[in-house]
Symmetry: none
Subunit: 173 residues, 4 copies
DNA sequence: GATGAATGAGATTTCATTCAT
DNA sequence: CATGAATGAAATCTCATTCAT
């Protein structure tokens, strides 16, 4: 991967995350990347191709993060690890997450749903913890996770730690 | 408000919600509304003005919904009412909510944050219920609420009722 | 002529003079006249028809002014009267003159050239004054007259009186 | 400057001069220049930007012309040179002058007043010639110059030479 | 006479994409 | 690999004009 190609990916990700995919023109991207507009299409064929490349590239980074949660054997540790997940996302991965979340709201997309592996972990954990309805509990956590992620990515997370604590208490953690 | 103006608002809301504000052209809106494109600009001056009109119009409808939650005096009832809130949104208001949520992810916008009145109700409820940190608890619920709303608006809410039940249990409801 | 029709004529004249015919929309005119846009077309059929009406209306006013110059019998008085002509234009007729002059520069127009009667007067005067080439002298004055009018209509005529004096001297006035 | 950019400038100047800035559409310009409409905006960002470019470009040409007048030392020669100035404008610069003059009549513009250097020359000349009020005389000539230019640019200058002679006589030239 | 809703054509501008260099 | 000129289609917006009331 040449340096300029990476500059394009970086600039595009940042702009897509900030202003949205549709309202980011390839001209803006080229300018932000310090690159000619033509080069974008030499490397990515399409604006959509550029988006795809960004998403794939981001996904690879993400998958690593996920694996950390699976290392725990104690189900409460698994739960705790999953719930605190959004707080562990490094700042430089925020744009990728913002983009992912914003894309969810357009129907024509291309969403890579990353919830599946987590769902499995959660069902397993709640089963071990002898909850009545592990599937529903897992869904509930996934949904809470979405809320937490949204808060982390969009708001200045002021007392976010105490919020997390409040939530964890509900699970006896 | 003339009939055609309303047709524009309806069509635009629907399209904005489905495909996103930026990727919905005024031509599409006009066609969907059965109206000349020029009329859009006679009534709303701007594409952005149209968006503003939609948001204001929607907000009025929403405010009414909110008031229902405040009618309860028992704090647990308040909580229950708030948590089940997303499920009570009538189908025809879904586009407005989808649009609101999707707009949150673009920085340059115009979001009418409707959380403030709910936050107040929640803090009050948790105080009455003698929770240690009512503010944090309120934030936690708001965030869960966002998660629930997202799920309701985006996914086919299969076992959503059992999820809601699972969450309510955590609050002893 | 109804009151509203006159308001339209006034507003249009003013706007045409200030911003140019082509860049003045009928919407602007209607607004400035405090009148519905449709009314313009009830009264004038066309935007161009409105312009024609304005020009005719103005011309009538102008013709009167011209007649004053012809009342003199002494050729030097005629000359003096003609040269000071632009200064005698009442302020409220300035928009009409500005419009006339600005229209000259568009080829597709509609110019009512008012120079003919003056030319006759001038040739007569210069003949009486025994100038060698009365026609050329008349043209020269017409052209100077254009210059004076331009100055009066466009610039803040600071020392315009002394300019006029300087010019008149050349004709021994 | 690429060839196409120049074609745009040329076509636009010609059309602006003939039909006026406001009534010349960018589509017409593109067609006349044998160029896609989009290219206009790649090179000039705006229709107004295109106008600005034309005016600046023209001004450069003009400034050269002006310098010729300053080469004379004899004040009468200076005067003669200035008065015959409009006749010396090469045919291919006429569009630029027409445009300049037509723009003067719109208030919102952007006029590059080129009279200042000439004014200085004139005051100097009239001072040397011991006229009583050199400033007023200078203004008078400037104004006559405007008249001459208007005549040259708008009318078929039939007996224009004899007119010029008539005017020069007044200054003893 | 007067309004204001509505239209359709066209004006300006943006944008993804192509291509010669 | 990289640039930047160029395009054509589409997007936003303007405007003269019509028409029902």
């Amino acid at each position: 991967m040449t340096e300029k190609k990476e500059q394009i990916l970086d600039a595009a990700l940042k702009l897509f995350a900030e202003q949205g995919y549709a309202s980011t023109s390839t001209a803006k991207i080229a300018k932000a990347a310090g690159v000619s507009e033509g080069l974008i299409f030499r490397h990515f064929e399409n604006k959509e191709g550029l988006l795809r490349a960004i998403m794939n590239h981001g996904k690879a980074q993400i998958d690593q993060l996920y694996k950390q949660a699976s290392t725990f054997s104690n189900p409460k540790d698994v739960l705790a690890s999953i719930l605190s997940f959004p707080f562990l996302i490094p700042k430089d991965q925020h744009p990728y997450w913002k983009l992912s979340y914003s894309l969810k709201w357009q129907s024509d997309i291309y969403l890579n749903d990353m919830s599946e592996p987590i769902r499995t972990l959660l069902i397993d954990a709640f089963t071990k913890l002898a909850y009545q309805n592990p599937e529903a509990e897992a869904e509930a956590v996934l949904l809470i996770l979405d809320g937490i992620a949204t808060a982390v990515l969009l708001k200045k997370p002021e007392h976010s730690v105490s919020i997390l604590k409040a939530i964890m208490q509900k699970y006896g953690i």
